[in-house]
């Protein structure tokens, strides 16, 4: 039982860190704000949640579980809001889109 729980927990944590890795790679490799927003928000949310779930499994029914749930809630809320805020302000500031072949001047309005 304990071993199985550990394995599941470890697997979840590994998945979480994998997503973190992917997200960070994306953040570094993507060419502009909007595309970078994509890996960073999504992968981070997913990665963090996976890790939290892993830890929840690891801790079992305990006081820590409550804390983890609260953390997860806040994480989901804040991460999404951040992504929204960054994307929106980038849009409002007319930050250009990225185009292939170095054509980096988009129409800027996103519409």
């Amino acid at each position: 039982m304990s071993a199985a729980r550990d394995i599941v927990a470890g697997a979840l944590c590994c998945i979480g860190t994998f997503f973190f890795l992917v997200g960070t790679t994306g953040l570094l490799r993507m060419p502009d704000v909007f595309t970078r927003l994509h890996p960073s928000t999504k992968c981070d949310t997913l990665g963090a949640c996976s890790v939290i779930v892993g830890m929840a499994v690891y801790s079992g029914w305990s006081w820590e579980l409550c804390k983890l749930v609260v953390i997860a809630c806040f994480l989901l809320l804040s991460s999404a809001t951040c992504g929204h805020a960054i994307g929106r302000s980038a849009l409002r500031r007319n930050i250009p889109y990225w185009r292939r072949q170095g054509k980096e001047t988009g129409d800027g309005n996103g519409a």
């Binding site: 806040f74 809320l77 809001t81 409002r92």
Partner: protein
């Protein structure tokens, strides 16, 4: 010429430091002077001597409380320096301020921030009060409060946030960390010890643990509040400066 000289100087310094690090006692070795002289006593007896479970808190607030008093003064000094260079906003709250940030925030963000900030502050209170037994403490808690206000201010603007924490509140609280330290120190004198004695020699033996605990908490709260107010005041001063630039431009 200057560049070459400074390059040379930096290179020399780097070599010197590398050389020293190479000849320093090995890291983590239990036989190093650091591990054998003062540290063992802290680790072994801090709990009974300072009545705090967290040894680090015991060291920074009790054994070396005076240093910490200096450090909170440094933080306060940073605020005074910022105010000296940027100037403080006029007495009372800032009037006629309109949110000039280039991106008016959306309803989602506003709602979320309004929802989150109380929780953040709750968490900071937890951090401050728990500093005595677990990692955390006044500095961290204060930083968290400050952070929450930074979020609030970026979203709602200076007017809203300075309405909530006006100068009237900040001015007396900015130095609360130092004041509390001084108070505790002076009380130590009253209690028959030296400055910054938490366990008053004149107090009954059984009363001492509680005394130390409560005084420690008091100090933590003072540091937390002071740190938070300093951060907020610095933030306001800097935003105000930006405003002035924006107005003149």
């Amino acid at each position: 010429m200057k560049r070459v000289l400074s390059l040379f100087f930096i290179a020399a310094l780097g070599v010197l430091l590398l050389y020293v690090v190479a000849s320093m006692p090995p890291m983590g070795d239990p036989q190093t002077p650091t591990a054998t002289h003062v540290i063992p006593r802290y680790l072994e007896r801090a709990e009974e001597e300072t009545h705090t479970e967290n040894v680090i808190t015991g060291v920074i607030l009790n054994y070396r409380g005076y240093d910490t008093m200096g450090e909170v003064t440094v933080i306060f000094c940073a605020l005074a320096a910022v105010l000296a260079v940027l100037g403080r906003e006029r007495r009372g709250r800032i009037r006629g301020f309109v949110d000039r940030s280039p991106v008016p925030s959306s309803t989602i963000v506003r709602t979320m921030v309004r929802f989150m900030v109380p929780f953040i502050i709750l968490f900071s209170v937890y951090t401050i009060l728990h500093g005595e037994i677990s990692p955390g403490g006044g500095f961290q808690g204060g930083a968290i409060i400050g952070g929450s206000m930074i979020i609030f201010t970026t979203v709602f603007g200076l007017y809203e946030s300075s309405r909530r924490i006006p100068q009237k509140v900040r001015a007396p609280l900015e130095g609360s960390a130092v004041i509390v330290f001084f108070l505790v120190g002076a009380l130590g004198l009253v209690g028959g010890g030296n400055f910054l004695t938490y366990a008053w020699p004149h107090a009954a033996r059984g009363l001492q643990p509680a005394l130390v605990t409560w005084l420690t908490v008091l100090v933590e709260v003072g540091i937390g509040l002071g740190g938070a107010m300093v951060l907020i005041s610095i933030l306001f001063a800097m935003i105000r400066e930006e405003e002035e630039i924006a107005l003149t431009a």
